[in-house]
Subunit: 332 residues, 2 copies
């Protein structure tokens, strides 16, 4: 390990992010086959919120100070997350990610599949550097990784189903998104040798944050600004995703509106901005926004509650709270 | 773990294969999402030679007797192998595998990507049950898994390149195929607590066997019988794969034959049986068969040499030798 930063003079979100980006930039990556490793370098250099390693390190810091020693397992979860993004983008046929071409658009599907596979292996390599509770950590990582795949399969299945309820949807995002954020917190706590109770609270915090975060994402996909969000606005509508918004709006719709929503699904004749506008106007007419906002608030509150109960460093808790407040207000 | 077989009365290839198939049949697999787990069950129930777990258990038996206790890590490598097959079949757009529809043809590319991802995670879960040298084993597994992906990328790259030499090809199959067979032997030896020297010899045996095996596969792809081989004969020719046969035949060709071989690459106008016949007749005219047979023999001999040097059970060595002799004679 060749770290530029060995210790942090001051621990806050900015210094942790510097540490994370520094370490990602210094990850050794082979030169050949270039077609395999170039997409990985490209994907990791795109930036992003680095939310997963940040949560891992913040969780670690609740129980132990030397977060720098845990940077590699933390980075492992960023690499894992990016593996899922590469494969999801193929499945969703998404053209843009963080404002740039997706890997499969730039290098083709074959390479995108394979680069994603490599990133999953690299994620294991990095998580494997955890010194504490290695076997337990790897077992939890495996379970989490399976949940992420199961959630993604449910997501795909939902696109073709006309019978998705709010609870199905919440279960899907619990698996697809929240499981990993929960595991980030769990990994940090496990790695720092926290008590079983605190590990479980940390995991709950991450999981509820994850659900709130995903619901925000769904909301921003429709009501956000393309430039800020960094991907195509309305992408979920175009790919007939049954998001919280869609399901709730359908629930709230009258017969006429339901007919319209159904007629727009898998309809090759109406597409692009026209389809987005039509669906969005129903969302607005039935007032779906206030429902999703209420659900987001609920999960943020549950997360805050779990955090309060953790027996950990006060400074670290304050840092996590400020991170959490940033998330609540985010518009991208 | 719920094993039907707890001990083996008599250890031979047949009883080991029964143990392997029995354990694969009893692997717990979730029911939902069905679209995710059905393809995995389908893939694992297709059969196949079970060469990877067989090598792992045979290697283990060189140094320790209770092979049953090591069945799960061994199965892990069969699951890993099947993950690579699912993803490779998408990339090669292969219609058949072991005489049946490939996963992506039956369930679509999205599910095939995701089911493959799940199988990679399951492979880690199973390898994680190794009791001995866990960290070392996982490190070697990671390295091996990366090699397999690198080999597959080289394979893809070669299809579009007109500048592939025999050495490049041998390096590609060393990574794509031989690395895993080498790791099977390494895993068994590591798990049984063999000496560093014996682990290294076991690994060499597996790797050379792997190269010989892959060269046989290339040969059978062109000169085998479709019914026996269980996949489309000539598939490598149709997808412009630069196999040992193609590269060597090109090397041996005169100007006219080279022109013909080149004109058939990436040529959408000539395809199907016509293309296969044209390439095959050049292979026959230049007599490429005796070159590939010589190379196969060389690697089988190197493998035998490594096996001889291993300090392990005589009975186990005899069993491995008989397995190896079966492979030499195979026509499928």
């Amino acid at each position: 390990m060749n770290l530029v930063i060995n210790t942090l003079d001051k621990m806050n979100i900015t210094t942790l992010l510097d540490l994370i980006n520094d370490r990602i930039g210094s990850l050794r990556m082979k030169d050949t086959p270039a077609n395999l490793y170039d997409p990985i370098r490209y994907m990791l250099s795109m930036g992003g919120k680095r939310m997963r390693p940040l949560l891992t390190l913040m969780s670690y810091s609740l129980f132990k100070e030397n977060v720098v020693s845990f940077i590699d397992p933390a980075i492992g979860l960023e690499v894992f997350h990016n593996f899922t993004l590469i494969h999801d983008d193929i499945m969703d046929n998404a053209p843009l990610r963080r404002g740039q071409s997706t890997v499969h658009k730039k290098w083709g599907g074959e390479t995108a599949i394979l680069s994603g596979d490599v990133m999953m292996i690299q994620a294991y390599q990095l998580v494997l550097t955890s010194k504490h509770n290695l076997e337990l950590i790897l077992r939890s990582f495996n379970t989490c990784a399976l949940h992420v795949c199961e959630g993604q399969q449910m997501d795909i299945d939902f696109e073709k189903s006309n019978d998705v309820e709010i609870d199905d949807y919440l279960e899907m995002i619990r698996l697809k998104t929240a499981a990993l954020l929960g595991f980030c917190m769990e990994l940090g706590a496990q790695g720092a040798g926290a008590s079983t109770k605190d590990i479980s609270l940390a995991k709950s915090f991450g999981a509820d944050l994850g659900i709130a975060f995903q619901l925000q994402d769904d909301m921003l996909d429709v009501f956000g600004e393309s430039k800020k969000v960094g991907k195509q606005v309305g992408g979920d509508i175009l790919s007939d995703k049954k998001t919280y918004l869609w399901i709730k709006a359908f629930e709230l719709s009258d017969t006429e509106q339901r007919k319209k929503l159904n007629s727009l699904l898998n309809n090759p004749e109406i597409n692009g901005p026209q389809k987005i506008d039509m669906v969005k106007s129903i969302y607005e007419d039935v007032g779906v926004l206030k429902y999703v906002q209420k659900e987001i608030k609920l999960h943020f509150a549950k997360a805050a509650d779990a955090l309060d109960k953790i027996n950990g460093s006060k400074d670290a808790k304050d840092m996590i709270r400020s991170f959490y407040l940033q998330l609540i207000k985010r518009d991208q």
